[in-house]
């Protein structure tokens, strides 16, 4: 992204390029469509607020995903704060014979992963980010990304095997 772009142009471009990716990530992490939409909004509001702090050492994409990661963590924290708040999921129905059932089941398995494994699985395998990009977003070493991804895939394999038995 060019250095001379103003904040509106940067935000417009990032929104056009990544709003859907962020929504998808938030949906997997939060498991709630409304929360995911709120998260997309929050991410870009933070982009607007904090663009002045952006340093070009990291790419805008990595910076955006770091903000996304923080927003999702905040959303999770708000949930834990709402201790007595009932869950407000808007899960999609799983009608029998629906060809989308396999996808929905797969998504449920992803959602059931431990948080770190889930983060890595989504970023690497669904968002198709590289190991390097994922490591930068999560502030992890690349080795940790690889090992966590391996654990995530192993967990999913076991879960899939269990559901198909």
């Amino acid at each position: 992204m060019e250095e001379h772009l103003n904040i509106r142009e940067v935000t417009e471009r990032l929104f056009a390029l990544y709003a859907d990716d962020i929504y998808r990530y938030a949906l997997y992490m939060l498991h709630d469509a409304d929360d995911a939409k709120d998260a997309v909004q929050e991410v870009f509001l933070r982009v607007v607020k904090s663009y002045a702090k952006f340093r070009s050492e990291s790419s805008l994409k990595t910076w955006l995903w770091s903000i996304t990661r923080n927003c999702i963590a905040d959303a999770g924290r708000r949930r834990s704060r709402q201790r007595r708040l009932p869950h407000f999921y808007s899960k999609e129905s799983k009608s029998s014979g629906d060809p989308a059932v396999a996808f929905v089941e797969m998504e449920e398995l992803i959602h059931a992963l431990p948080p770190r494994q889930k983060q890595v699985a989504i970023l690497r395998l669904i968002q198709d980010l590289s190991t390097t990009e994922t490591a930068r977003i999560l502030n992890w070493s690349e080795g940790k990304v690889r090992s966590t991804l391996h654990r995530a895939v192993t967990t999913l394999r076991a879960q899939i095997a269990r559901t198909t038995d």
Binding site: D20, F44, V48, K53, R55, R77, R78, R157
Partner: protein, 320 residues
């Protein structure tokens, strides 16, 4: 099934996307903020202001944490403790028939940023709750009921340059026999029986300072409602370096907690990247994830080990 099958299944998942309507609505709110941003450039934290921002936090930490090694002589004498000062700042609540809106200054953002909490106080459990604020709409599922004295969501870091006086929140919900209810609360006349206790933990080593903030909000008894205590809420760990040379761009960190049995529990490891100016005082935000954050509040001591350029230092973060 082998590993590649799993990867293939994941990459084959449908690409869920925002609907055009959702995209439009979200962009509309961002656009509103962008318009507001254009008229308030003076409150943006520029690169030049980063040191001052860090200094405010440092002095705050020094005052509250009592750490003897702060280099306060190098800091502007007019900088006061943001955190103690703001306890007496705008914090209060707007009380309606069935809802309360609690307003506190944001502990994360310097300037006119506020956090809002929405609390349901109606007698009959509410369903299909929707909260409409000037900047967003929060929905609950229609078939879930919200009991009395239950917090329903909230909003953080809302930018209100004129203060919260013009902020109004409208609640819609289904009450007894599915009767459609609504209530609008304005934050123009806040009841001041709310207290915000914001505390900051601090620590330091030869070249590093660390701060860690949390807050708790409590309110007096209103009607049948008992004293409410929210929190502690965690607002993250911020680090500053005092290295004589340029700040390193990459620092390895390891955060460990002391457990009651005397053992250490590693909370997080990773790499920090400077977010401050490229001079000899940069800020770093430690990325503690959800798992870590839930562990920290109850623990007495947090240790942070930093390694850079072949050097290593450990900071101990102790509750004041």
């Amino acid at each position: 099934m082998d590993e590649n099958d799993v990867k293939s299944r994941l990459s084959d998942l449908p690409k869920r996307e925002l609907s055009e309507r959702d995209r439009g609505e979200i962009w509309e709110r961002i656009d509103d903020t962008l318009r507001g941003q254009a008229t308030r450039t003076s409150v943006q934290i520029s690169r030049a202001n980063w040191a001052t921002t860090a200094a405010v936090l440092l002095v705050s930490a020094g005052v509250l944490g009592g750490y003897a090694g702060w280099r306060t002589h190098a800091l502007p004498s007019t900088v006061s403790s943001r955190f103690t000062a703001r306890q007496a700042d705008i914090a209060g609540e707007s009380i309606g028939q069935s809802w309360r809106v609690i307003v506190v200054p944001s502990p994360r953002q310097k300037g006119p940023y506020y956090d809002f909490l929405f609390l349901y106080t109606g007698r009959v459990p509410a369903t299909a709750v929707t909260v409409q604020t000037p900047s967003t709409k929060l929905n609950g599922a229609s078939n879930q009921s919200l009991e009395s004295d239950t917090e329903f969501a909230g909003q953080n870091d809302v930018y209100l340059p004129q203060g919260p006086g013009h902020y109004a929140v409208t609640f819609h919900w289904s009450g007894k026999r599915n009767q459609q209810m609504n209530e609008t609360l304005s934050c123009g006349n806040l009841t001041k029986d709310i207290r915000v206790k914001q505390s900051m933990l601090s620590g330091g080593s030869t070249n590093w300072r660390i701060t860690y903030t949390e807050d708790a909000i409590s309110g007096g008894q209103i009607g049948a409602m008992p004293n409410i205590v929210y929190g502690p809420l965690i607002h993250g760990v911020v680090m500053f370096n005092y290295l004589a040379s340029n700040a390193p761009s990459s620092i390895q960190f390891k955060i460990t907690e002391s457990l009651p049995n005397g053992n250490g529990n590693t909370v997080e490891t990773g790499t920090l990247e400077a977010q401050g100016p490229a001079d000899n005082r940069s800020t770093y935000v430690l990325p503690i994830d959800q798992e870590g954050e839930t562990l920290i509040p109850g623990q007495p001591v947090l240790h942070v080990q930093l390694t850079w350029d072949g050097r290593s230092e450990q900071l101990n973060l102790t509750r004041p």
